[in-house]
Symmetry: C2
């Protein structure tokens, strides 16, 4: 998502366009990996020395509602934020906790049907492949 699209998305919901929001979005794009709120703040701190964690948290949550980012809950660590907005899968190292994107098709039709049968209204189906990353598989 471009900066212009973010601004449009914000205005469309009556949300204000602030330097913090622009910079947090830019930080996520530039980090180009799953980052924690702390990591985002660090990156935002260079251009905006007084930026605060509460603002980062509030903004990431807002972005999630706007569909700008995905929240990736992590076992035993801070939740990570993923700037990709398309449905995709994840690799999670159970030793170091690292989470990476994983490309690949998957036929989830059967599972989604099972979910609906349970009264659930599904809107995503993502796989987490667990195991050991190359570095930890020693």
């Amino acid at each position: 998502m471009t900066e212009q699209e973010l601004q449009d998305s914000l205005r469309a919901r009556g949300q204000r366009v602030t330097p913090q929001r622009i910079l947090i979005h830019r930080a996520l794009r530039e980090l180009d990996r799953h980052a924690s709120a702390e990591e985002v703040l660090e990156r935002v701190t260079a251009p905006l020395p007084n930026a605060s964690l509460p603002t980062v948290y509030a903004t990431l949550e807002l972005f999630e509602e706007l569909g700008v980012v995905h929240r990736v809950p992590v076992a035993g660590g801070p939740t990570l934020w993923d700037p990709r907005t398309d449905g995709h899968h994840h690799l999670a190292c159970r030793s170091c906790g690292r989470v990476e994107d994983l490309e690949g098709e998957l036929d989830t039709a059967k599972l989604l049907r099972a979910a609906r049968r349970r009264g659930f209204r599904p809107d995503s189906a993502e796989v987490v492949v667990g195991g050991l990353c190359g570095r930890c598989a020693d």
Copy 2:
């Protein structure tokens, strides 16, 4: 997993069999749903009034290493513990945070291959279907 199997599993790793461990395992089986450490403690407190949270946390982590339980990271809440040891999938309500088991087959061979191509040594592939549960889909 039966109580006997748990004891064998503990002894096989040189771990001691304690009433706390037996009762925490029993609590998980009897709760028969994804429970938080707090909820496990509550249930253990009846037979063992002095049981403590640190012991519950340490024990659940040990059980995870033994493959006795699964840890389910939850966004915006305490991590939940799942007494099922077979690979299975999850439904996660993005409104109330509830997590339920989901039965169903899935061909993950292609994804696992992609994971290995990335130097990853995968040992599980589980789907999280996100959306709204029946109650929250109003």
